[in-house]
């Protein structure tokens, strides 16, 4: 270290700084400005300022070289350079060749190249003479930093705004919810986006003339036109349950069930279709959840999108009861950040008791309905081979996010991905 301090290194080498590297790749700022001026219809400073990266640098060198002039806020190209010798010089340094002394001086001055392996002490002393802004490797290696007084900075200046790569707010919230379910001991399940009416509706005891199955609400597929039904015994049980209640103790809906209607393919309208598929495969006690995209035949406006994300949790246990459902709801929403919850009667075709939880939004000072819940009807569970209560609850993902972020246009999600919004949105909801 000290040896170095007194030694002079005669061999000079140069290498490109990061800025130099970048210019070599992207072109010099002055070149980019000249080229923009040749093409641009609008040559005003105010317009080009945002259009050209490193605009200030570009303009000052163009002016210094006498290539442009500014009149009335517009930049005029008065002389187009034949060649950009600075670029040639950069390339030479890059190729480890020696550029012309004059150009090298310019490169050094512009901080596009730096010397390496030079006399550290000499360089450091030079820096000291000039006054020191940045701590440099030379100052550290020579130990001369001890003699340096670093001028104060304006700490209000934060530099160029940085945009980190990050998750979309929807995906952040999905992760938050997945974590809550995992913490509560739930297993994640998934299912297909194109679904049969059988699993989307029939297995959930929705009669075949139910309004939710209307063309106006559900996307029906032209391709695939039809799906295959599951095993015959299951289909038969569902059919009978619809028609006369089968062994469920229900009267059924009292109509003739049509297998062809059940075969029609739809874009799944709720994640309950996934729950229905799972119900046939499980043994209690089981706790499952699903997060997935669902689809409704809606025209796009600030309140409606044809697709959104639904979350659903189910608990199947021999002893499960209504108080447990309310307990899970309270626990789930508490973990989601809502301390206060209350419950209202609701209606869903496939649950009885049906509940609508309302949570208290501290930010807004009001109770808001958030999601739905219930215990699956025996007409749903028994044909699937389950003879104990199955608790279920679900909610749309977008509403709580919108409420938390104070958004009132659902098109902010999926339909528009405004980068300014996404780059600016907070990551902790």
């Amino acid at each position: 270290m000290f040896f170095n301090f007194f030694t002079e290194t005669k061999v000079m080498r140069y290498e490109l700084t990061e800025e130099g590297e970048r210019y070599l790749k992207e072109g010099l700022p002055e070149r980019r400005l000249v080229e923009a001026l040749k093409k641009a219809e609008d040559t005003s400073v105010s317009f080009l300022k945002n259009k050209i990266k490193d605009f200030a640098i570009a303009l000052s060198w163009c002016k210094k070289n006498g290539w442009v002039e500014i009149r009335n806020g517009k930049i005029h190209l008065i002389k187009e350079p034949e060649r950009y010798e600075i670029e040639d010089a950069l390339r030479k340094v890059h190729n480890k060749e020696s550029p012309d002394e004059r150009l090298l001086a310019v490169l050094l001055k512009r901080n596009l190249v730096r010397e390496v392996g030079e006399d550290v002490r000499k360089k450091a002393l030079e820096q000291l003479e000039k006054g020191v802004k940045h701590l440099t490797p030379e100052l550290i290696k020579s130990g001369l930093w001890r003699r340096v007084k670093f001028p104060e900075y304006n700490i209000e200046i934060i530099g160029k705004r940085a945009y980190p790569g990050k998750r979309h707010v929807i995906s952040l919230f999905i992760e938050k919810i997945r974590k809550i379910f995992f913490d509560m001991g739930f297993r994640e399940v998934e299912g297909p986006l194109v679904e049969s009416s059988f699993w989307n509706f029939d297995a959930l005891y929705q009669p075949q003339d139910h309004p939710a199955r209307d063309l106006a609400d559900t996307f029906y597929m032209k391709r695939p036109e039809s799906t295959s039904l599951p095993e015959r015994e299951l289909v038969e049980r569902v059919k009978k349950t619809h028609e006369n209640g089968w062994e469920t103790g229900s009267t059924g809906w009292g109509y003739e069930w049509d297998a062809n209607i059940a075969k029609s393919a739809v874009m799944r309208t709720h994640t309950t279709a996934v729950s229905a598929r799972m119900l046939g495969k499980i043994k209690p006690p089981v706790k499952l959840f699903c997060v997935g995209r669902v689809f409704r035949n809606e025209t796009i406006d600030y309140k409606h999108l044809p697709e959104f994300t639904q979350i659903e949790g189910i608990v199947a246990d021999e002893r499960a009861n209504f108080r447990h459902l309310l307990g899970y709801l309270r626990e789930f929403y508490r973990r989601l950040g809502f301390e206060k919850i209350r419950f209202r009667p609701a209606y869903f075709p496939y649950t009885e008791m049906s509940v609508e939880p309302e949570v208290y939004f501290e930010e807004r000072g009001e109770w808001l309905e958030l999601g739905g819940a219930g215990i699956f009807r025996p007409e749903v569970t028994m044909p699937l081979g389950i003879r104990y209560p199955v608790l279920a609850w679900g909610l749309g993902l977008e509403r709580p996010i919108m409420l938390k972020l104070g958004l009132n246009d659902i098109r902010n999600f999926y339909y528009r991905n405004d980068l300014e919004f996404l780059r600016g949105v907070k990551i902790w909801l």
Partner: protein, 550 residues
């Protein structure tokens, strides 16, 4: 969703008690009817599809009366005999087979009654009636008719009558073409050659269900007796709707008389206002609700819902069409108990969390992409042929297609993520560059081997847009992903028209193609109205996952 508006004064008169704001805003909604709006004169509630008996103000008032504890016995309704017969001709069996009817006496048509009658008809048509397809209601001035009646079919041009609201005779066909109701509901009859009508003994058409009544039997302020007919495709539904209507009239002080429906073997007398019984095991109730009610407590709770209990059975009044299973009675108990009075409990059910490996894998990929400085976007699965194929410079391929979309933007399922990402760039041309975005999202392809005829899986797409980007801008991303997943890959030149010729490659693992990347062709950029160069990369995540899982 049915929202019904009630006149507060009329409602309170029918309830027989002055209702407080707290009753309206807090107590009544807990009966299972969310408050939609309230002002000094009117109040509106949402009525759930299972409680059609609350669609009428009379029925709603009845439910409130019980729920607020103003009644201690279940409602019983009596029904005299009118002696009127309605003969059902077998010709209706194919078109609209079911009918029920009643005569209502002592009618005093106050303004409140008329507006309530119109509202309940409309709401029943919309809900239970499935827009009149399943059930349609006709209300007539009984004294203007000449019983007995016949329910039969007629050829569309064979019969003429003056439809309600018009002044001249039209044929059935003309009604369907010209009358406002005809135009709206003719679709229900379009598949049939003969259409249903009800005619009286004088040969007058009194009703053309489910379209319109005749002007002849129009109800006026002088009307004192009504003839109600309910037609439809479901026996249960027409009987239920008739019960809903006539019990509402009885609540208004009218009396009801039955009609004999002469239909061969299926003859019946309607309405049938006797309650039904359903067996209830109190242990079942207690077990499901997690409470410990005595039979007396259970009885006292059920009466708040207008339901009786004899120790073994629940006694369900005739207007409740929703009770299919004992579970429906259990819900009534829960509502009467008060959802707010249950003590929520998280049971100790031991299960372990299980993650889906594929989703965890996707999260690992996201982490790499974010580390490389990419902003995640989340876009729609639904797209259209223009976006997916035309704008990407590729010929139209087989895709999962929607038959009935109301939006021209959403007609197929995407097969690729890249069109979604280019669309995001188009929407962000005024935002700061460089723009580096990615999405790992689902795509759907037709798949005949799959049970649903389609298969959804995940793809990763990423695009970089800046004044200068090139093939290498994404090649290094693909390389970073592959290296960090420990997957050895090769690159092979590809000639997709989406990319500039000579600047695109397929990413291969062994002989399988996992993805594609390159500099997006200016023609594609032009089609998306993009002005900055774009480099793009897409990888099949499910295939990659399968390779990594092996």
């Amino acid at each position: 969703m049915a929202v019904v508006e009630f006149d507060r004064k009329d409602l309170e008169q029918l309830v027989g008690k002055k209702l407080t704001e707290r009753d309206y805003e807090e107590r009544i909604p807990m009966m299972g009817a969310p408050l939609e709006s309230i002002d000094e004169k009117t109040v509106a509630y949402e009525i759930f599809p299972d409680r059609c008996d609350m669609l009428s103000i009379e029925g709603f008032a009845r439910a409130v009366r019980y729920f607020l504890g103003l009644e201690s016995k279940i409602p019983t309704y009596t029904c005299g005999r009118s002696g009127v017969t309605l003969r059902v001709d077998s010709s209706v069996k194919k078109v609209r087979p079911c009918i029920s009817a009643a005569v209502v006496r002592n009618v005093r048509l106050s303004d409140e009654f008329v507006s309530s009658l119109m509202q309940v008809q409309e709401k029943l048509h919309e809900t239970l009636g499935r827009k009149r397809k399943k059930v349609a209601i006709g209300v007539h001035d009984f004294d203007k008719t000449k019983p007995p009646f016949t329910y039969k079919t007629a050829a569309p041009e064979s019969l003429r009558f003056i439809p309600l609201g018009m002044s001249k005779e039209l044929s059935l066909l003309e009604i369907c073409e010209k009358h406002e109701k005809g135009v709206r509901y003719a679709g229900i009859l379009k598949d049939y050659n003969e259409w249903p009508v009800i005619i009286d003994s004088a040969g007058n058409v009194i009703s053309f269900p489910p379209i319109i009544n005749s002007e002849l039997t129009r109800v006026s302020e002088d009307t004192t007796s009504l003839f109600i007919e309910v037609t439809g495709t479901s026996e249960t539904a027409v009987n239920h709707v008739l019960n809903l209507l006539v019990t509402s009239f009885i609540e208004r002080g009218c009396s009801v008389e039955s009609v004999e429906i002469a239909d061969g073997n299926a003859s019946k007398i309607t309405p049938d206002l006797t309650p039904t019984k359903i067996a209830i095991d109190i242990n079942y109730v207690n077990r499901l609700l997690g409470v410990n009610l005595t039979p007396t407590q259970l009885k006292n709770l059920l009466i708040k819902m207008g339901v009786g209990f004899d120790g073994k059975h629940a006694i369900i009044p005739c207007y409740r069409g929703d009770v299919m299973h004992p579970i429906d009675v259990v819900e009534d108990v829960a509502i009467a108990y008060g959802y707010g009075n249950f003590e929520p409990e998280v049971p100790k059910i031991y299960t372990t969390a299980e993650r889906l490996p594929r989703i965890e894998y996707i999260n690992a990929l996201k982490e790499i992409m974010i580390g490389l400085g990419f902003q995640e976007v989340v876009t729609m699965v639904l797209s259209n042929k223009e976006y997916e194929f035309e704008r990407m410079n590729i010929s139209v391929e087989e895709a999962c297609e929607i038959a009935n979309s109301v939006s021209s933007e959403c007609t197929i399922c995407r097969k690729s993520i890249l069109p979604s990402l280019l669309r995001v760039l188009t929407q962000n041309m005024h935002r700061e560059f460089p723009q580096k975005i990615f999405e790992i999202g689902e795509v759907v392809v037709p798949d005949e081997r799959s049970e649903t005829g389609a298969r959804s899986f995940y793809k990763l797409g990423c695009v970089i847009s800046d004044s200068k980007v090139g093939y290498e801008s994404v090649a290094c991303v693909a390389d970073a992903l592959m290296r960090h997943l420990g997957v050895r890959y090769t690159l092979e030149r590809t000639h997709s028209k989406t990319f500039i010729e000579g600047r695109a490659a397929e990413i291969k693992v062994g002989s399988a193609t996992l993805g594609v990347m390159g500099e997006v062709h200016p023609e594609v950029l032009e089609k998306w109205s993009l002005e900055m160069p774009v480099a793009a990369l897409e990888i099949n995540v499910d295939s990659l996952f399968d390779i990594c899982a092996k």
